[in-house]
């Protein structure tokens, strides 16, 4: 064998080619045969207790066990556990898990096996666990892949996908934004001006037919300083503000930028900051944010 790092250290592997055989004897053989069939059995001792896994000789008395096999479990109760934060190559699971002693229902002794509990808090003495079986079984304790806590919740992947088409008034508004103007509507009955353009007036129900082109300047009427991140804002804190465009009676809610959050004021004059013209699409993404104009504040 080549030495490692030039030091007098060498790797030496002893592995019987093909692996050792283990003759099971009748008791362990029955246990493993039942496992292959997807059942767990214990053996009854002369004193009447049920050993799981079965042993050939009762550790309490040294007597041979009886030939009575008792189906136990499949569920059981954890009596103790040790959490494995970093599984090693030979471990039964490749994610953090617990080694646990599990007293299967109907058994008088505990079985050691792995429990896939997700996190250590999910496992305590008394936790009920069930075996998770391997599909292909060949008569080994690993025919039980691991145990797992009872199912108490499922994850439901609900997904609805829509195809949204901006038609009507919204389409007209976005088309306007696509060429750098805000299009609102004026109600012929009550005279209120809405931006974005709406099909009808929320105040009086009148169909809005008169379109109005509004400037990209306005006044912040009020705002929130948001400390929770949002994908639509570049950073936290960010300011979401009610902005009354000049000539409008209904505020837009939009991002304010170009000014530290705590310097934003109610009554502050702002102007839309447009992204470069060559990047424009029919979308509000054309407006990066509203930034202060530097004019004196408006009295609200």
């Amino acid at each position: 064998m080549p030495s490692e790092s030039g030091a007098l250290v060498a790797r030496h592997v002893l592995e019987f080619p093909g692996g050792y055989t283990r003759t099971t004897g009748p008791v362990i053989g029955r246990f493993l045969t039942e496992l292959r069939a997807g059942r767990i059995v214990g053996v009854r001792t002369a004193e009447g207790t049920v050993l799981v896994p079965p042993l050939e000789y009762d550790p309490a008395t040294g007597d041979a066990v009886t030939s009575e096999y008792v189906e136990v479990g499949p569920a059981g109760t954890v009596t103790a556990s040790a959490w494995v934060h970093e599984p090693r190559p030979g471990h039964p699971l490749d994610r953090p898990f617990a080694w646990a002693t599990i007293k299967l229902d109907g058994a008088d002794t505990s079985l050691v096996h792995a429990v896939d509990a997700g996190n250590p808090k999910a496992l305590a003495p008394g936790t009920r666990v069930w075996p998770v079986w391997r599909q292909a079984r060949d008569g080994q304790i690993t025919d039980i892949s691991h145990f797992a806590p009872e199912v108490t919740k499922i994850v439901s992947q609900v997904r609805a996908e829509y195809r949204l088409q901006a038609g009507g008034a919204l389409g007209v508004f976005l088309e306007g934004v696509g060429r750098g103007v805000f299009i609102g509507g004026s109600c012929a009955t009550c005279g209120q001006v809405y931006v974005p353009l709406r099909g009808s007036c929320p105040e009086c129900g009148t169909v809005i037919t008169e379109q109005v082109e509004l400037p990209d300047t306005g006044t912040i009427t009020t705002f929130a300083i948001n400390n929770l991140p949002d994908p639509r804002a570049p950073e936290v804190p960010f300011v979401s503000a009610y902005i009354l465009l000049d000539g409008s009676d209904s505020p837009l809610i939009a991002l304010v930028g170009g000014v530290p959050a705590h310097e934003v004021r109610q009554g502050m004059r702002v102007r839309a900051e447009w992204i470069p013209r060559e990047e424009w699409t029919p979308s509000m993404a054309n407006v990066r944010w509203f930034a202060p104009t530097g004019e004196p504040d408006v009295e609200l």
């Binding site: 300083i225 400390n227 209904s250």
Partner: protein, 381 residues
């Protein structure tokens, strides 16, 4: 209009996660407690009305059809009500309407939310395309209106913390309350971070799992201790109305005027003994004190500051701890209505307001565009 009474109230303990029950198990727990309070069983119920907030919260579409079995509704009329956060109140009023209109003699009203199944801020912030709005959750929506209230009235910044403390102190007397914070005080509230300035973490409501149920009865079928409905009103208004007053919405004023007229109330602060009002962010107490006419415009914060709304004040608000202490959203409005009933029945336990004869239950929802209110009393109207 026929008389209507609340004869049973049932609540679950409100908590962050009810891991041990399904949604069906949760609503049934509240329903059975309400029936038990009334000394009745499902057999005695003619119709079931259920309310909850948006389906997107749990991702269960039309939960009313799934929950019919759990609520003993087989073979009976069952309907679902939805008016966002005010839904619990609206659900009670739809149930009361079935009694007052003479359609049924006994109606079971249930409302719930199992917020732990998803995240309400996610569900309220779904980023639809083409939108020019930038709102993050309910707090992001309401924070600017609170700021505007502060500007208009000149209210000092600590008023919100006073309500946050007062309601949590009340919660310590309510075994069903979710947030029970021993030693809660202004310093603790002020030490928590701003989420949506001017709203601090402890100035907001929690996310709760829970259900509330009430049994409503016609006069002839009353069992046990009744709380009589003296007035019931709902109003809504368009959120996008131009020049809308988002600090003190017209729909709230109109709804209050209607319910007071029915109950013969001309001076709510003097005539009403206790109020359970939907205050999910602490600043909404002074805002609603004005909107509901308990004081003049601009004076709400002074009423709060004076201690008048505390359990030992002249007009206790949210003796139960309110939405600030328990918020299974869909149920939160019904809890207000149920707590008002418990008070006039004299069954509110440690947070009972002595001698309460007339109580207001209030809920609001959406962008403060839906309102539901009732006045319940110890005596028949």
């Amino acid at each position: 209009m026929n008389r209507c009474a609340v004869i049973g109230v049932g609540q679950t303990h409100y908590t962050t996660k009810r891991r041990d029950v399904s949604i069906a198990g949760l609503v049934r727990e509240a329903a059975l407690r309400a029936l038990d309070d009334a000394g009745l069983t499902f057999k005695d119920i003619n119709a079931v009305v259920i309310g909850k907030a948006p389906d997107l919260f749990e991702g269960v579409m039309m939960p009313e059809s799934y929950l019919a079995d759990a609520l003993g509704a087989a073979g009976k009329p069952m309907m679902r009500v939805h008016t966002a956060g005010s839904v619990g109140g609206s659900t009670a009023l739809v149930g009361a309407g079935l009694i007052q209109g003479g359609v049924h003699d006994r109606v079971l009203v249930v409302a719930f939310e199992k917020q732990s199944e998803s995240n309400a801020t996610w569900a309220l912030t779904t980023h639809p395309p083409f939108s020019s709005s930038l709102v993050v959750g309910a707090g992001g929506y309401f924070a600017p209106h609170i700021r505007e209230y502060m500007r208009r009235t000149g209210a000092p910044g600590h008023i919100g913390t006073l309500v946050a403390v007062k309601d949590r102190l009340n919660a310590l007397k309510n075994p069903y309350a979710h947030l029970r914070i021993p030693g809660i005080d202004r310093a603790m509230v002020e030490s928590t971070p701003m989420l949506w300035e001017p709203i601090r973490y402890l100035e907001t409501c929690p996310s709760s799992d829970g259900a509330c149920a009430i049994v409503l009865s016609s006069e002839d079928k009353v069992t046990g201790t009744p709380a009589w409905v003296h007035g019931a009103a709902m109003r809504s208004e368009p959120m996008s109305r131009a020049r809308r007053d988002t600090v003190s919405p017209q729909a709230g004023k109109d709804c209050a005027a209607d319910v007071y007229r029915q109950a013969g109330i001309t001076d709510p602060r003097r005539q009403i003994d206790v109020a359970e009002v939907y205050v999910p962010f602490s600043w909404y107490e002074p805002m609603w004190l004005e909107n509901l006419g308990f004081t003049a415009e601009g004076e709400g914060w002074k009423v709060t500051e004076s201690g008048a709304t505390a359990l030992d004040g002249d007009i206790p608000w949210n003796a139960s701890g309110g939405v600030l202490s328990s918020n299974p959203i869909g149920a939160s409005g019904l809890i207000r209505f149920a707590e008002a009933a418990l008070q006039v029945r004299g069954m509110a336990g440690e947070h009972q307001v002595d001698g309460a004869r007339l109580a207001l239950g209030h809920a609001y929802g959406g962008g403060a565009q839906f309102f539901a209110m009732w006045i319940v009393g110890r005596e028949k109207p």
